[in-house]
C-alpha cells in the first residue's frame, strides 16, 4: 500500500485536514468550521478523509499545527507538532518554490513571512488587531447584506475609487457609513474596504521590512479576488494564490511529518482512524497550589490522564510525563 501523510491545522475559525502522498500531491482535503470544538471538528474531518483514502493507503506520518495543535496532536498521535509560521512556509516553499514573500490572512489572525532561497528569513504576526483579518470582512459583508463569497466580485466591479480609513475596525466602520451616505455604491465601498485592509496589513506587518516579489497570498481570505487585486494594485506586481491556498498550514504540517519520518526512520505514532471514536475528555481547572492560580488543561482518554499543560510551574505537566 502507498504511504500517505496527514496534516491537521486547528485554528479558532476552521479546522483543516489534508492527506498527501509521497510526492506531496493532495489526495484529500477537508475544511470544517471549528465552532469552539477543536476535538469534534478534527473527528469529523478525519472521518471524512478516511472515506477518501482508507483501504488504498497507509498512514505513515501525521503533523498538527494551529492554535489547537497540542491538544489535537495528543489525541491523534502526531509525529510533528509545529507552529503555524513554519507549517505555512513549508507548504509554500513546496508548492511555489520561487516565493519570496508570503501574505497569509486567516479568519482570526494574519502573518507575513519573508523567504530567501527556500528559507524563512523573517516573519511577523498579528493576533490582536481584527482590522486585517477575515472576521472583519465577514462582519462588514453581513452589515452590507452581501454574502462574503461575492465580496470579491463586488469589489472588482467598482467604478470609482473611495478611500476608507482602515486603521482600526471602529474607524473603518464609521467611515464606511459616512461614505455610503455620500452616495458611493456598495461595489465602491467594498473595493475601498479591500484596499483599506491591504494598506493596513502592509503597514502593520511589513513596516520597515523589504517586501520582495514573487508574492504568494494564502489563507482563507485569499479566496477574495478583491483583496488579491488590492494587493496587486498596492504592490504593482502579480500576486499568486496557490491552488490549495486555504489549507496551506495543514499541507505544511503533513510535509513536515513526512520529512520527519523519512529523516528519522521512526514509525508513526498515529493512533489510527479509530482515534476518531476514542473518547477524549478535555477539562480545565484552576490550580490553587499558589497564588498564580493557573488555568490547567487536562485531557483524559478513557478516564486516564493523557496530558496536562497550562501550569507555570510544570508540576502538572511533569506529573503526566512520569507515568
Amino acid at each position: 500500500m502507498d504511504k500517505v501523510y496527514l496534516g491537521i491545522d486547528v485554528g479558532s475559525v476552521s479546522t483543516n485536514v489534508v492527506a498527501i502522498d509521497e510526492n506531496n500531491r493532495v489526495l484529500s482535503k477537508q475544511y470544517i468550521r471549528t465552532n469552539g470544538q477543536p476535538l469534534e471538528s478534527v473527528k469529523t474531518g478525519i472521518k471524512k478523509l478516511k472515506n477518501d483514502i482508507d483501504g488504498k493507503y497507509k498512514v505513515a506520518g501525521v503533523g498538527t499545527t494551529g492554535s489547537g495543535r497540542q491538544l489535537v496532536g495528543i489525541m491523534i498521535g502526531a509525529d510533528v507538532i509545529k507552529n503555524e509560521i513554519t507549517a505555512h512556509a513549508t507548504a509554500t516553499i513546496n508548492y511555489v518554490p520561487s516565493a519570496n514573500t508570503i501574505f497569509e490572512i486567516g479568519g482570526q489572525d494574519s502573518k507575513i513571512i519573508f523567504l530567501d532561497k527556500g528559507l524563512i528569513t523573517d516573519f511577523a504576526m498579528n493576533t490582536v488587531c481584527a482590522a486585517g483579518t477575515g472576521s472583519f470582512l465577514d462582519h462588514q459583508a453581513e452589515r452590507l447584506g452581501i454574502p462574503i463569497q461575492q465580496f470579491g466580485d463586488y469589489a472588482l466591479r467598482a467604478q470609482r475609487k473611495v478611500r476608507i480609513a482602515g486603521r482600526c475596525t471602529v474607524f473603518a466602520e464609521s467611515d464606511m457609513i459616512s461614505k455610503q451616505q455620500f452616495g458611493f455604491s456598495k461595489e465602491e465601498i467594498i473595493n475601498g474596504l479591500c484596499e483599506a485592509l491591504v494598506r493596513n496589513y502592509i503597514n502593520n506587518l511589513g513596516r520597515g521590512k523589504k517586501i520582495r516579489p514573487p508574492y504568494v497570498f494564502q489563507g482563507g481570505v485569499a479566496a477574495n479576488a478583491g483583496i488579491r487585486a488590492a494587493f496587486e494594485k498596492e504592490l504593482g506586481e502579480q500576486v499568486t494564490v496557490p491552488e490549495y491556498f486555504d489549507v496551506m498550514g495543514a499541507l505544511g504540517s503533513a510535509i513536515l511529518s513526512k520529512e520527519y519520518v523519512e529523516h528519522t526512520g521512526h514509525t508513526t505514532k498515529f493512533r489510527g482512524f479509530e482515534a476518531a471514536d476514542i473518547e477524549f475528555t478535555p477539562s480545565s481547572f484552576e490550580c490553587s497550589g499558589c497564588s498564580n492560580l493557573c488555568e490547567v488543561i487536562k485531557v483524559e482518554i478513557n478516564g486516564e490522564t493523557a496530558a496536562m499543560w497550562g501550569d507555570k510551574c510544570a508540576k502538572w505537566t511533569n506529573s503526566v510525563k512520569s507515568i
Binding site: 507552529n83 509560521i85 504576526m125
Partner: protein
Amino acid sequence: MRVGIPRGLLYQYYYPFWKTFFEELKVEIIVSSPTTKEIVNKGIEFSVPEICVPMKVYTGHVEQIIDKVDYVFIPRMVSISDKEYFCPKFMGLPDMIKYTVPGALNKILSPKIKSDSDSIANPKFYGELKSRLGISTWDLHRALKKADKAWNNFRALSKKGYILTDALDIFEGKKVPSKEPTFKDGEVTIGILGYVYDIYDPFISMDITDKLKELNVNVLTFEMLEDQAIKDSIKFMHKKLFWTFSNKLLGAGYHFYQNPKVDGIIQVTAFNCGPDSMIGKMLELESNHFEKPFMTVRIDEHTGESHLQTRVEAFIDMIRRKKMAGGVSRESNLSPYGLNTSI
C-alpha cells in the same frame, strides 16, 4: 526592625548586594514572593495608569509586603555610569510609590544612588540610612564593603555564563555551582536583549529563557558580557543614549551582531517602555546589515503565552533550518522538527 525588598526591577541585579548589606547590619529583610497574577493585579490597581508593565509589577510587590515591614527599600537609582542616567521612571519611583501604595508614605528608604560605575558601594549615598536605621558610620562602611564583595562574586557567576536565576540560586546557597555552563556545540545560540526585570520575571517574560532551553538553545544575555566589551561595541556611535541600561542593551545587541557564535537576537520588551522602542528600532534596522535575524517580543498584561510560544518556536525553527542548509553536519543533534510530540 524589618526592611522589605520588593522582588522587582533591579532586584535581579542587586539583590546579593542588598541582602548582604542588611544582614551585616543585623536588619531582618523580607522579600516579596515571585511575581504572581495577584501581584500583577494589585500592581495595576495601585500604580499610575500609563506606566510600563515592570513598574506596575513592582508596585504590586511593594503592596504585598508593605504591612509586614517597618521600611521598604526603594533606592532612588539616578546613575551608575558617567553622564548616563536611569530611565526617568526609576528616578521618580520612590515618590510614585509613596503616594500610590496605601501605607507606604512614611516607610520608604530611598538612598540616592549616583555612581559612576555599576558598583553602588559608596557610603555617601547612604547617609539617610544612618539616622533612620540607627547605624554608625563605621557599621555602614563595613556592611557596604562586604556587600560589594558579595555582589562582585555574584556578577562573576554571570560572566562565567550562568543564567541570572541560577547565579542568584548559587548566591543564596540553594544550588551548588555544578560544572560551569558550557555551550552546546552546533546548537543554535540566541542573544536575548532585555532588562533583567523583564527577562527574569517569570510573569513578565513568561519564562522565555526556559522556553529556549527546552528547545535546546544556548542563551546569551547582556549581564554575561564584560562591561568593557559592551562599551566597546557602541564606541562608534557619535553620541550615547542617556539611559544606562538601555546603553548596555544596545551595546550587547551590537556585540551579539558581531559575535559569530550568535545566530539570532530576541528583544524582550514590556509594553509602554519608551527607551526600548528606541533601541528596538535601531537594532532592527541593523539586522539586515549584519544579516542576523532579530525579533522583538513585546509583552503586556494581556499577552497570551501561546502566542509567545509560537513566535519563539518559529524563530528558532527558522534559524535551525538555515543553519542546516548552511552545511552543518546532520549528525549533530540538529532537529529541525524541534520538540515533537512532547509539549
